[in-house]
């Protein structure tokens, strides 16, 4: 599904939540929508979903969302940031969504199982009684099983455990190439694995719009943490700018591009002296440069 948001502006009283935001999501694109809290991400998603009215136009395959939402709704699936607190049992909620989308509950159960939640075992429990992670998995399963042409995912893995997050990534990667994905996320691993395009919102405006690798190069920084003991290891780590931490741990931040080389060096030089290694990416507060803008 091809999505166009043209000159979207939204005010809540005197507060401008979105100012002249324009985006194009081509069919099959995978886009991350990121930005600090209050930057307008959720508002933009809700405008796209037709839950909020706004100035400007939202078109999905040329159809205005505000005019014919019910016609478009079967082609769009949504995982909200905050899982709803239905009093209905899990069975009823799953049945309701499957019924509305015109398929059986079996695909939802299958996907949920892949995400690590057994819908049948939880069938009689009130949806609101599930843990945050379980609710998010069921919601993700309902969206992924829908066969929708546009998936809108608002921080879909925020409450998931690492194993389920891995399964979720795998399922999104398995989606048909024509499926358009819009992902609101702060997690760099999600951006790295799931998207090819990044849009940054700040104060209700598009502050950055470019491909994902350029964004990661501009904004991501690698953190390498090493637990090592022994004089040679300490000298090697100090020589490469590692800072000493507690319980034998050392850490160093470096550009993402240099991480692989450092880890390879580490493996060669400190073979047998390293007890553990953790490498992760974090978002840099100050990007290297301004980066591309829309």
């Amino acid at each position: 599904m091809h999505v166009e948001l043209l000159a979207i502006a939204k005010h809540f009283g005197r507060v401008a939540a979105l100012r002249d935001v324009s985006l194009r999501l081509p069919t099959g694109s995978r886009t991350a929508l990121i930005g600090p809290n209050g930057s307008g991400k959720s508002t933009l998603v809700r405008v796209l979903m037709g839950a909020l009215t706004a100035n400007g136009e939202v078109r999905c395959d040329g159809v205005l969302v505000g005019e014919d939402r019910t016609k478009l709704a079967p082609r769009i699936a949504y995982v909200p940031q905050i899982a709803p607190r239905f009093a209905a049992p899990v069975r009823d909620v799953v049945w309701a969504i499957a019924k509305l989308r015109g398929h059986s509950v079996a695909p939802i159960e299958t996907v949920a199982m892949q995400l690590g939640v057994d819908v049948r075992a939880l069938a009689k429990r009130p949806f609101r009684a599930l843990s945050g992670g379980q609710r998010q998995k069921v919601l993700a399963a309902m969206a992924l099983a829908s066969g929708a042409e546009l998936l809108v995912l608002d921080e879909p893995t925020a409450s998931m455990d690492p194993k389920s997050r891995g399964a979720f990534f795998h399922l999104v990667e398995q989606l048909p190439t024509a499926t358009t994905v819009l992902l609101c996320s702060h997690r760099l691993d999600e951006i790295r694995r799931l998207v090819d395009h990044v849009v940054v919102l700040a104060d209700g405006e598009v502050a950055w719009d470019g491909n994902a690798s350029a964004y990661l190069d501009e904004h991501a920084e690698a953190i390498v943490e090493v637990c090592a003991q022994g004089e040679p290891a300490v000298e090697w780590l100090l020589a490469r700018g590692f800072a000493r931490g507690a319980a034998g741990w050392w850490s160093k931040s470096l550009p993402v591009a240099e991480r692989a080389r450092l880890l390879a060096d580490l493996g060669r030089s400190l073979n047998g002296q390293v007890q553990d290694v953790v490498a992760r990416d974090v978002e840099r507060l100050q990007p290297k440069s301004g980066g591309p803008r829309s």
Binding site: M49, A51, P84, L100
Partner: protein, 279 residues
């Protein structure tokens, strides 16, 4: 996606909410307690206001319901939409192929059923218990009149509750408004209005108009219309109206005006729900 299916899905999810909050059970218990009280206490021969036995018990119960039903209806509906909005269920459900109209109709039907079904069970049951256990003759016409008037009043206040929950986003403010509406409904009958008229020297026509616009007052007069119009039982407003529009007119006004008011409030709520921001 057919509209009926949308309504059915919304209704099933809301019915679970009704069951969880025990509204159905609560209404049944309230009606059962009231019915038991009036059957046991009221089934005695009495000449008061022209009713005896079962008729008197039903009349007393109906009068109690005039004050209770609006409170039940407002409590059951005054926070339906704004709660669903706050807890995220509205956002998720309406991101799926269900129209706002489908959701609103489904939810309204469930709330109406949760309030009306206990009443429709309890009233005839009370009459049957009176007939079987106490050998009383069932006044079927008054029973039907009481059920029709009570149902009309329930529908009116269900719609007013939905109106509040749709237009007032803040749940605490919505609760306050429903209490105010209930208080106005039960206070703006003869006694309070006459007091207001005397205190502020309002013209009697304004007081009569205010009283006649109050659906609770209309329902009360419709119930009383089965009796001879006497000033002591009808009160000044009722006595005036009974002598001008007649017994049948009072009955139709008591059923029709709350229904019309409810329909207006419900239509307004639906329009606002369809047009306004969901969140």
């Amino acid at each position: 996606m057919s509209f009926a299916r949308e309504v059915a899905v919304a209704a099933r999810l809301d019915f679970a909410e009704v069951l969880r909050s025990r509204w159905l059970v609560f209404c049944l218990v309230v009606h059962a307690l009231l019915a038991a009280m009036f059957v046991l206490v009221g089934l005695r021969e009495s000449g008061v206001i022209g009713f005896t036995g079962m008729g008197r018990a039903l009349m007393s119960w109906s009068h109690a319901l005039l004050f209770l039903l609006p409170l039940l209806a407002l409590s059951a509906t005054g926070q339906v939409v704004n709660t669903a909005r706050d807890d995220g269920s509205l956002e998720l459900l309406l991101a799926n192929p269900v129209s706002r109209t489908g959701y609103f109709v489904g939810t309204s039907l469930v709330r109406i059923a949760a309030l009306c079904v206990p009443l429709w069970i309890a009233m005839p049951l009370m009459a049957l218990v009176g007939a079987l256990a106490f050998g009383q003759e069932v006044p079927w016409s008054f029973l039907l009149r009481g059920m029709a008037v009570s149902t009309s009043l329930l529908l009116c206040f269900v719609a007013l509750g939905l109106w509040v929950s749709t237009l007032v986003r803040n749940q605490a403010k919505a609760l306050m408004l429903t209490i105010l509406i209930w208080a106005a409904g039960v206070a703006l009958i003869d006694f309070a209005l006459i007091g207001v008229m005397l205190q502020w020297e309002l013209p009697p026509s304004a007081v009569f108009a205010l009283a006649a616009l109050n659906p609770v007052q209309c329902a009360r007069l419709a119930l009383l219309s089965a009796a001879q119009p006497e000033l002591s039982t009808f009160g000044p407003v009722g006595f005036f109206l009974a002598n001008h529009v007649g017994s049948t007119g009072l009955l139709w006004a008591g059923i029709g005006w709350p229904l019309l008011l409810g329909l207006t409030a419900w239509t307004w709520s639906l329009g606002a729900f369809r047009r306004r921001d969901l969140l």
